[in-house]
């Protein structure tokens, strides 16, 4: 593709993990990478200069929200969102469909598109694949997503199959409507719910389109984690080896590590910045609630290994005094949480490059979970030849617990 050059520069010899460069029109990103979400063309009071300093390669914008405000006309006049917000690196936009279905209760999906009531004047409106692409062309992101027929991952039955086939038809309409293939990339989205046959069918059909990259969608919607990883792994097995793979809506540290082992390259999630708003700081061993008085006398940084400006400057006790009171306290935690995600991704890439990824995974799990690791993680890692239940050289081994998520 003229707007995306993907080069795998290191492969893990044990798992499906790989480290790559992805040359985009605005920036050369390194994967596996995490993309923080800046819904409205900004991210939680953080300047674009800070985002660069935090090593963000690609950020996310939400098409539905940007279409409402500032709107397509202004984005056209501004010359796209990059210029409007003064961001010179990579950008990805969603199709707007997911927002529509999750925010607007009245959305009805037909072959034509997603029908919804305009919340401002109550008129009936329609988002079609063509309109989504037109808007995304105006925003001008390096990567755009196809409009897909979104069903909850908990839905079963014929609706899932219908949505999967419709998403493929919509993809073809998106491809036809796309005006800037020389400077913007359109990613299809693998659908098919939790059904092996449907997901296989979707992944195969999309692979035939020879798109610049692929997304794995319709997950992270409350399904059991053991089903989640199996769907991810199945998709990465089918999708082309030489194209980037993007798992949508994933952002917990353990999910990033496991999915990278399964061969995923890109992630996005609102969680790190959203949780910062509530005074929660991310660390390797879990998240710290700095709003509680618990850390009022703790004169250590959030994490002594973190090199972010917040950890280099402030103690947990200080953050406790400032976090509840002002926006600026929230900014301090957001900075750390973004830095935390970026540092984690850098250490994943480094481990892959040195072909030390399996050891990295074991170290990570021992810090995060100790000796009891959720069963789904043990199963997922076993599928890529890392067996946490058997001791390694360092002597670490884990037994499984049933819960999806601990700490």
């Amino acid at each position: 593709s003229p707007a995306l050059k993907f080069k795998v520069y290191a492969k893990c010899s044990t798992t499906k993990a790989r480290a790559s460069t992805m040359v985009l029109p605005h920036y050369t990103a390194r994967t596996p990478m995490f993309m923080p979400v800046g819904t409205m063309g900004t991210m939680k009071g953080i300047t674009t200069k800070q985002l660069e300093e935090l090593d963000c390669h690609v950020i996310l914008g939400n098409t539905y929200h940007l279409g409402n405000r500032p709107g397509k006309d202004l984005l056209d006049k501004a010359g796209g969102l990059h210029k409007f917000m003064n961001w010179s690196r990579g950008m990805l936009t969603d199709s707007g469909g997911f927002q529509m279905v999750s925010l607007l209760k009245l959305a009805k999906i037909t072959e034509e598109g997603v029908e919804f009531r305009n919340p401002h004047d109550d008129s009936l409106m329609m988002l079609t694949p063509e309109m989504s692409i037109e808007l995304q062309n105006s925003i001008g992101a390096d990567i755009m997503m196809q409009l897909d027929d979104v069903v909850s991952s908990l839905t079963t039955g014929p609706r899932v199959e219908e949505a999967m086939h419709r998403s493929i038809r919509w993809l073809d309409r998106c491809i036809a409507a796309h005006k800037n293939p020389d400077r913007q990339n359109l990613f299809p989205i693998v659908q098919g719910g939790l059904d092996i046959k449907l997901r296989t069918c979707s992944a195969r059909a999309l692979s035939e389109r020879d798109s610049p990259g692929y997304a794995i969608g319709g997950l992270s919607g409350g399904e059991a984690k053991d089903q989640f990883w199996r769907m991810v792994s199945l998709s990465t097995d089918i999708l082309p080896e030489n194209k980037p793979r993007y798992c949508m809506g994933v952002g917990y540290a353990e999910d990033l590590v496991v999915c990278s082992a399964l061969g995923v390259d890109m992630y996005d999630c609102v969680f790190p910045t959203r949780t910062a708003r509530f005074g929660n700081a991310l660390t390797m061993s879990g998240s710290l609630s700095l709003k509680s008085g618990k850390y009022a006398k703790d004169f250590t940084p959030i994490s002594k290994d973190c090199d972010c400006p917040t950890c280099k400057t402030y103690t947990r006790a200080y953050l406790t005094t400032v976090v509840a009171k002002e926006n600026v306290g929230c900014h301090l935690i957001s900075v750390h949480n973004i830095a935390f995600q970026m540092q984690l991704m850098r250490s994943i890439r480094r481990a892959i490059l040195h072909d030390d990824f399996p050891n990295f995974v074991r170290r990570f799990m021992s810090i995060r979970f100790g000796n009891t690791v959720p069963l789904w993680i043990i199963n997922a890692l076993k599928s890529v030849n890392i067996d946490l239940t058997v001791a390694d050289e360092s002597g670490y081994l884990a037994t499984s617990i049933d819960s999806d998520f601990k700490k």
Binding site: T42, M43, V328, C330, H331, V335
Partner: protein, 475 residues
């Protein structure tokens, strides 16, 4: 022993215009002045070099207004884009008080500077005062033994002794001694009992503080509040107490007049006359700090009529909280490209025409926000109640405020202060229909009535809704 904090008055160039703003036509004495505040930080045990860097502040100038040591909305790496800011911050003790007299953060092993994140060898001059000057009305029930602080956990009392302990731990560079501020806009309260009590209590608290702090080794420079206004007798009593306290001239390093110490329904001119009557019988070579007076015309008038040297930067914060960007100019405005906007003092980024305006907040402004972002973008951020709006506006507004002080100082140096002052007041203070002066730069008052930031959901409801409909129609 040489003092850590020194102040040198440098008389400004005499101006060819007579001042006499207080009607003192017999001896038109120029009160405005230039000064130099210098601070030599105590040598630290861990410092690798023996030479400590001196902090130097030309006056008139301001202490950066901070919330827990941080400028509103600005994390340090963002604040670092601001150029030549005065290396002096104001920290409000009440921000650290919760459910006990001595805050938990005093258990931090280092100085308050380090707790607030400043490096040991490169800290700004840190002034610790008790109250946040943005809040002008309080109900804090002081008594003869202790002052009150309103916290999330309810009212917390602090005694003079308690303050001495806190200061011993925090080790600020300057501490503003406590005073029983009356915190009321009702003029009658300032006559008779209440204000008499306030002078008495202030005396008691300070005496208790001084007695307790005698044993401390590392003492901060002390600024003392002058109280008693508007009662002449009581003001005199307050001044006399300060004279006693500072009998050898080495105890007190500066004088403080607080807006909330002299409120009541008085116009600023009257307040400044009261302030001046207190200052005039005290040591002329000590700095004068006016707390709670911060808007540009008030600053210019205070420099002119009461020789004030130091202010707070609460004004830019108030401008930011309204969703405004400052445009006022002290000096020649005929050169400004948007003279209409300059004369308004600020532009509102909420307004519909900002929607498609891809120019900077103020043409020619060199601040980080104007260099990198547009009016259109800031308007969008306000409309979507995104926090970056107030970040960018605060950068511009504090940069602009800093320029005001630079312009005031340079006019004092070249003798053009009076001329520029007159033009400035003419531009930004109008005669109202009721005959009273109308201040154009009145955002501080707006902040009082509106405690919510425009980037919060409540603020969006208040500001954003009506306007969003406007812009939707233009869009």
């Amino acid at each position: 022993m040489t003092k850590a904090l020194t102040f040198t008055v440098q008389n400004p160039q005499p101006s060819n215009l007579s001042t006499g703003s207080n009607g003192d036509s017999q001896s038109p004495k120029q009160k405005c002045r230039l000064g130099q505040l210098e601070f030599t930080p105590p040598t630290t045990t861990t410092a690798t070099t023996t030479d400590t860097t001196k902090i130097s502040l030309e006056t008139p100038n301001f202490f950066q207004y901070t919330i827990q040591g941080l400028q509103p909305h600005l994390v340090p790496e963002v604040a670092s884009h601001l150029e030549s800011m005065p290396p002096a911050i104001r920290v409000n003790l009440e921000g650290f008080v919760k459910d006990r007299e001595i805050p938990v953060s005093t258990e931090y092993p280092g100085k308050l500077h380090q707790f607030l994140g400043y490096p040991e060898n490169n800290s700004p001059l840190l002034l610790l005062d008790i109250y946040d000057p943005v809040i002008l009305e309080r109900n804090i029930k002081p008594n003869s033994k202790s002052l009150g602080v309103d916290t999330e956990g309810g009212l917390q009392r602090i005694t003079g002794k308690g303050l001495a302990k806190i200061v011993e731990k925090y080790r600020p560079d300057i501490f503003v001694l406590p005073a029983d501020y009356v915190f009321s806009k009702i003029e009658e309260l300032y006559e008779g009992k209440r204000v008499k009590k306030s002078v008495e209590r202030t005396k008691n608290w300070i005496t208790e503080y001084m007695d307790t702090s005698l044993s401390q080794s590392q003492k901060p420079a002390l600024f003392v509040p002058l109280t008693g206004a508007p009662n002449e007798t009581l003001r005199e009593a307050s001044v006399n107490f300060v004279k006693e306290l500072d009998a050898d001239g080495n105890v007190i390093d500066g004088y403080v007049i607080s807006e909330y110490g002299i409120v009541g329904g008085y116009p600023l001119e009257k307040k400044l006359d009261m302030a001046w009557s207190s200052f005039s019988s005290l040591d002329q070579n000590k700095p004068r700090y006016m707390v709670g007076v911060s808007s540009p015309h008030d600053v210019v008038m205070s420099v002119d009529s009461a020789g004030i040297d130091l202010f707070d930067a609460t004004y830019p914060y108030a401008v930011t909280e309204q969703g405004f960007a400052s445009t006022y100019v002290f000096g020649d405005i005929s050169v400004e490209s948007r003279k209409d906007e300059t004369l308004k003092g600020h532009i509102s980024l909420w307004e519909t025409p900002m929607f498609g305006d891809f120019g900077p907040l103020v043409p020619g402004c060199t601040c980080f926000a104007c260099q990198r972002h547009t009016r259109s973008y800031v308007h969008h951020l306000l409309m979507t109640h995104e926090m970056l709006a107030t970040v960018l506006l605060q950068i511009h507004n504090i940069h602009w405020y800093n320029n005001l002080f630079k312009a005031v100082r340079s006019s004092l140096k070249d003798g053009s202060f009076n001329e520029k002052k007159c033009a400035f007041l003419k531009n930004y203070v109008k005669q109202g229909e009721d005959g009273n002066a109308k201040y154009l730069l009145n955002e501080l008052i707006l902040l009082q009535s509106q405690t919510i930031s425009p980037t919060t959901k409540a603020g969006y409801k208040k500001f954003g809704r009506r306007l969003s409909e406007d812009s939707a129609t233009t869009a």
